[in-house]
């Protein structure tokens, strides 16, 4: 396995994990687990906006990461 392939797998996994974390964090923020809304001073009105940004960021990162992991 070439160095580029190894780097691609590592970076791809990291990117996918970042994406998954962002998506999960969107739900954590929405459900206010562990008081995240208060911790980050996010109002109830702005929660949906931040959720949307996190989910879009997360999904794009996951897809891009999968391209790297499944490099042909």
């Amino acid at each position: 396995m070439s160095i580029r392939r190894k780097v691609s797998i590592v970076v791809g996994l990291a990117q996918s994990l970042i994406g998954a974390f962002a998506t999960a964090f969107a739900f954590i923020l929405y459900h206010n687990f562990l008081g995240t809304q208060a911790m980050l001073n996010v109002t109830a009105k702005d929660v949906v906006f931040y959720m949307l940004i996190l989910i879009v960021f997360g999904l794009l990162s996951i897809i891009s990461g999968l391209f790297l992991v499944n490099e042909q």
Partner: protein, 474 residues
């Protein structure tokens, strides 16, 4: 047993309350209507399942009939619908056991998914052995509940009425249709069933008949004991009624029955989604990684895990009504396509060996298509919007396969570079105070800056790797 176990599911325990609010005591009629509509399509499943014994079920049927985008769309919606179904069942399970012990509903639902993903990696045979006992217990408890409700002296006669009139009944039918889902999972796992040409039609019709008898009787018995208004706000109307009519013993028994029903459905739908994903991967629509078979258990373990992750995300919402409607939507589209596939194959492959033939053809599949699509009109508008988004994603996913992997990879490389630049800029603005985060502690701000910085570095490297992929112009 797989059919009954997958079909008597959490829906009947946690969705009847809301449906009673829509249709009143006429919910009994709505459940009968659901059974009739479901029967039309189950005939198609029985014929196609016995004639085409390959893994993939609906997707394989549509592929044999149409091929191309139609078959991909069928598989796509079946895959997604089974994940919605698993999410619905796991959330339902959490609501059911909350009658005995207080639990965090989303967390419990997620843990349930994880456990059954592991069980499914071990294989259908392992599940089948325990499922026979579980489903038998479930049926005994439900029958005891029904018999108690029929003979209990305090219960009164019911008069069928709907607060929303006929429209309320149809709305309830569209909502509660999900309780009949699960039987078709038999056709998805057919490659792992012995003598599928005889077993599948028999299993499908037996399961459908059991549901057609049990569900309306359950609703009838419920309304003999309490009026619809009393149960419309209950998280589990069945358990509530059981406690009223049979005391704590009834409550515990129905919680056990509900648990069995919910967990059986979770198991069946996780299995079904993995087999559909496997079939889509086999034909190149999904990544090849989903084709991997476990060296010891001979199951598509990667497909199980990937589907379980998406299902867990859906289950994390913890909202029964949304997931219920979404499940309905996906399966209704799939059912329409299966009926269309039957008709196409009857026309173009009349000599195909069909151990079972749909009765009253072509009335049966046409009725299946018409009645299923009619229900779509009454599904929650938010879910219909989600359905449109899913259709768009299906077109994109199919387009990727058709147009070329490399172009999309380069495009996503560019997107990653953009995301990397964005997060790097955000990190800089927060660190230098140009974008103050009022009310957030300094420790949290530092953590946010470092997380954003790390994410931006990964995004930029990933973007460069994708953009400079082998074969690209860069």
């Amino acid at each position: 047993m797989m059919g009954i176990g997958g079909a008597i599911q959490a829906g009947v325990f946690v969705m009847l309350g809301y449906a009673a609010g829509l249709a009143g005591t006429a919910l009994v009629v709505a459940l009968i209507l659901c059974g009739v509509i479901n029967f039309f399509t189950m005939c198609s499943y029985a014929e196609l399942g016995s004639a085409i014994p390959k893994a993939g079920g609906e997707y394989t049927f549509a592929k044999a009939a149409y091929g191309g985008f139609v078959s991909f769309l069928t598989g796509w919606f079946e895959w997604i619908s089974n994940m919605f179904f698993a999410a619905l069942s796991s959330v339902g399970f959490a609501y059911i056991i909350s009658y005995l012990i207080p639990v965090n509903v989303p967390l419990t639902a997620i843990l349930t998914i994880v456990v059954f993903a592991f069980i499914n990696i071990r294989g259908v045979e392992e599940v089948g052995r325990s499922q026979v006992l579980m489903v038998g217990t479930l049926l005994v408890i439900l029958i005891a509940f029904i018999l108690n409700g029929l003979v209990i002296p305090e219960a009164g006669a019911i008069q069928l009425s709907s607060p929303g009139g006929p429209l309320g009944v149809i709305q309830a039918t569209a909502y509660i249709f999900v309780v009949y889902l699960g039987v078709e999972a038999i056709a998805v796992a057919q490659a792992e069933i012995k003598n599928p040409s005889k077993t599948i039609p028999r299993a499908i019709f037996l399961s459908a008949i059991v549901l057609f008898v049990v569900y309306p009787l359950t609703a009838y018995v419920m309304f003999r004991i309490v009026p619809p208004e009393a149960i419309s706000s209950q998280s589990s109307s069945l358990i509530y009624v059981a406690q009223l009519s049979m005391g704590d013993l009834g409550k515990v028994a129905l919680v056990i029955a509900g648990t069995i029903a919910a967990l059986s459905s979770v198991n069946t739908s996780i299995m079904a989604q993995s087999r559909v994903a496997y079939a889509l991967s086999r034909d190149g629509y999904f990544p090849k990684a989903l084709l991997r078979i476990h060296h010891k258990f001979s199951t598509p373990h990667v497909a199980v895990v990937v589907g379980a992750i998406f299902t867990a995300v859906l289950a994390a919402t913890g909202v029964i009504n949304f997931v219920g409607y979404a499940t309905d939507f996906g399966f209704i589209i799939g059912f329409a396509l299966v009926n269309l596939s039957l008709m196409k194959l009857r026309k173009e492959k009349p000599l195909l060996d069909r151990p079972f033939k749909t009765p009253f053809y072509p009335f049966t599949p046409i009725a299946g298509i018409a009645t299923s699509l009619f229900l779509l009109v009454f599904i929650d508008p938010g879910v219909l919007s989600l359905g449109i988004v899913l259709c768009v994603l299906a077109v994109l996913a199919y387009y990727i396969r058709m147009v070329g992997y490399l172009r999309f990879r380069v495009a996503f490389g560019g997107i990653s570079l953009g995301l990397g630049g964005f997060t790097a800029t955000l990190s800089y603005l927060i660190a230098t105070g140009f974008m103050p985060l009022n009310g957030v502690s300094p420790t949290a701000i530092t953590a946010i800056v470092f997380i954003l910085l790390f994410a931006s570095i990964i995004q930029i490297i990933a973007g460069l790797l994708n953009v400079t992929a082998k074969g690209s112009m860069f």
